[in-house]
């Protein structure tokens, strides 16, 4: 078991390294000079070369890469080419906001998917199962930001129950914070929930066919008890797999949702940087997102080991 954990940790570290190289490489190898791009069309040659010197853009690529990664490891992503401000604190602030949003959305998604997916699987040949299935199909087809806009239309515009946009830190005004969190979290959560529901349904259906469920019933467990005691842990395996992947989608979906609801998270930082042609900020934020995804996948990997004993000893 320890070997597996060490293995996963090694994979994480390697992935982090490779991803950082890829992100750096991507930004660097694309045509365009970051300094020129940051300064805009009207920049003089002198300005450009001065900026390049200032930010060490004349150094060999490998050195730039290592210095950047070194900075990241020390939690110092550098200085913006455009605003000259420290990027670190900005990211920290925005990250908090994004994390809250993502956590709330994921909670809603899981709270929806587990019961409904199981229900759909158990009733998959009855009318109720089919209706739920059709609903989830629609849920999958609606992008989160569209759901957001529609929710705003209904709850903010028509009913005026909730604010249409904005963000208040929880410490400042908890009531307002919750009100403003609800619609964006719902938009992401409902849509992701629909996707997750279909996976839960599939996983539970697979488990229902398994021989060991038949054994459980032959032992005297009612179908529901058999499913809960024996089926769920086994169904959890493919569902947990998907959760990790879903998180990447969620993080990205959050980027767009932040635009819809005007939330100051990582997503809006990223988009603003793109608008300002602030390439170093783009690079940093993308890296933060990638790191977040990799870490979550690592945690899910460990969860996997905890759930399925077969993975603990079987060599791959």
């Amino acid at each position: 078991m320890l070997l597996r954990i060490a293995e996963r940790t090694a994979v994480l570290l390697v992935s982090l390294g490779v991803s950082s190289a890829l992100v750096f490489g991507f930004m660097v190898l694309l045509p365009g000079d970051p300094a020129r791009v940051a300064l805009g069309v009207n920049a003089t040659e002198a300005d450009v070369s001065r900026l390049r010197l200032e930010f060490g853009l004349e150094r060999p690529l490998v050195e730039q890469y290592l210095s950047w990664v070194g900075g990241l490891v020390h939690l110092d992503p550098g200085i913006s080419y455009v605003s000259r401000a420290q990027i670190g604190p900005q990211i920290a602030d925005r990250l908090q906001v994004s994390l809250i949003l993502v956590a709330a959305s994921m909670t809603i998604a899981v709270a929806l998917a587990l019961p409904f997916g199981t229900l759909m699987a158990v009733h998959h040949r009855k009318a109720s199962g089919l209706v739920l299935s059709a609903l989830s199909q629609v849920g999958v087809a609606v992008p989160a930001f569209l759901a957001g806009i529609l929710l705003i239309t209904v709850f903010a515009v028509q009913l005026r129950w909730l604010p249409a946009s904005g963000w208040t830190p929880p410490a400042y005004d908890p009531g307002m914070f919750l009100q403003q969190l609800l619609l964006p979290a719902l938009s992401l959560g409902l849509v992701q929930g629909a996707v997750l529901t279909r996976y839960v349904r599939s996983a539970v259906l697979d488990v229902l066919r398994e021989d060991f469920l038949r054994t459980a019933r032959a032992k005297g467990l009612t179908p529901m008890r058999a499913l809960v005691r024996h089926g769920l842990r086994n169904a959890a395996v493919p569902v947990v797999t998907v959760l990790g992947l879903q998180l990447a989608t969620l993080l990205v979906g959050a980027v767009v949702i932040e635009r819809v609801f005007v939330i100051p998270g990582l997503g809006s930082l990223l988009l603003d940087a793109v608008g300002n042609r602030d390439l170093i900020v783009v690079q940093d934020v993308v890296m933060v997102l990638v790191v977040a995804v990799l870490i979550v996948n690592f945690v899910v990997d460990l969860l996997y080991l905890a759930i399925d004993p077969r993975l603990r000893t079987v060599a791959r």
């Binding site: 021989d211 060991f212 054994t215 032959a218 005297g220 086994n234 759930i307 004993p309």
Partner: protein, 359 residues
């Protein structure tokens, strides 16, 4: 010339036990199936199945795939798939606390009644041991569970201890260690032993085995069979043993029923049915299993044709499209000829056995 099927040397009790002496009370039926019929849509899968198993009896149910033998077992357990519609009567009688009989009418009982019956009054061992156990649960816990479900032990601790005892009794080395193992750490034979332990944990009145050794290595088959037989003997339980392997039936069972096309075509004591089969299908089966026997004109005995798909058996005698002796008479369902559901056959042109010979 009668053809006696070759006995393989299984280290089992040998000859079936003799009947109980006349002054003891008559043995109770643990399973009584009458007029069982199962259809799916309009296709009949089981027709007119009558079957009885008593305490201490070992009854075999033989037939090929598609004959309906597994369905019969599932019907007794109340585990038929939802879209199958059973009719008839299936009564399982177990022994409740204080020796009071507990009867369950399976086709009418609700889910709770059935759940109380399964694993307690009747237990089942299925064919595929590799997938029969929950891969994420320790083996000991799975055995203990069957006792805690039915509260046949005082508490969880007692269940765990008894589970280890049972695992020891079924021959798993170092039972305490084995109880903590996960199924994937055990071989197929070992897993099947666990399943047998689970099945016998609550001393059921009836044990149903559906091809329990077919998926196992030949060397392990004999051991697991021995386990099953000793297990039911120790508990004076009834055994319904389903298989297509005639040799196993011959060495394990006292009575046998032969199924084909969803019907019981012949029944009787093992020795009688195997040495003097009456139904043409049984005759074919016995002949085809005996590699020493050959036709007068040379060549092995085979049954011509192949088994039709479920629900597509011919009307009247289900075997008539493959029978060399079929006539117009066979277009009607042949009546049961015999002393009761436990002994007889349904054939319009049965095999005639002369003393020391058969046609």
């Amino acid at each position: 010339m009668t053809a006696a099927p070759e006995h393989t040397a299984y280290p089992v009790g040998g000859m079936p036990p003799t009947r109980t002496p006349a002054d003891t009370p008559p043995p109770a039926d643990v399973a009584r199936v009458r007029d069982l019929a199962v259809t799916v849509g309009h296709k009949p899968l089981l027709i007119d199945v009558d079957l009885t198993v008593r305490r201490g009896e070992r009854v075999g149910l033989i037939g090929e795939s598609g004959s309906g033998k597994s369905l019969t077992a599932l019907a007794i357990m109340g585990l038929l798939p939802e879209d199958l519609a059973p009719t008839g009567s299936v009564v399982v009688t177990g022994q409740g606390p204080g020796g009071i009989a507990r009867m369950t009418s399976v086709l009418e009982a609700g889910e709770h009644g059935l759940a109380a019956m399964r694993g307690r009054d009747v237990a089942m061992v299925f064919q595929e041991p590799m997938t029969a156990l929950n891969p994420t649960m320790r083996v000991g816990a799975q055995v203990a569970e069957v006792m805690t479900i039915h509260r046949t032990v005082a508490d969880r601790g007692a269940a765990a201890r008894r589970a280890v005892e049972l695992l020891d009794k079924v021959g798993l080395p170092d039972a305490a260690e084995a109880a903590r193992a996960y199924p994937h750490q055990l071989s197929g034979g070992q897993r099947q032993r666990v399943v047998v332990a689970m099945a016998l944990a609550n001393d059921p009145a009836l044990l149903i085995c559906d091809e329990p050794t077919t998926a196992l290595d030949v060397t392990v088959q004999a051991l697991v069979l021995d386990l099953i037989v000793r297990g039911v003997e120790a508990r004076d339980a009834g055994l319904l043993f389903i298989t297509h392997d005639l040799a196993v039936v011959a060495s394990v069972c006292e009575r046998v029923l032969v199924m084909y096309g969803g019907r019981v075509v012949e029944a009787g004591p093992v020795l009688d049915v195997f040495t003097r089969p009456r139904h043409r299908y049984t005759r074919g089966l016995i002949g085809a299993s005996d590699l020493d026997l050959s036709r007068p004109e040379g060549g092995l005995y085979t049954i011509q044709g192949s088994v039709p798909a479920a629900g597509r058996f011919p009307a009247g005698c289900v075997f008539r499209n493959r029978c060399t002796h079929a006539t117009v008479e066979c277009e009607a369902v042949p009546p049961w000829v015999g002393s009761g559901p436990e002994e007889g056959f349904a054939c319009a042109h049965p095999v005639v056995h002369h003393e020391g010979g058969g046609s």
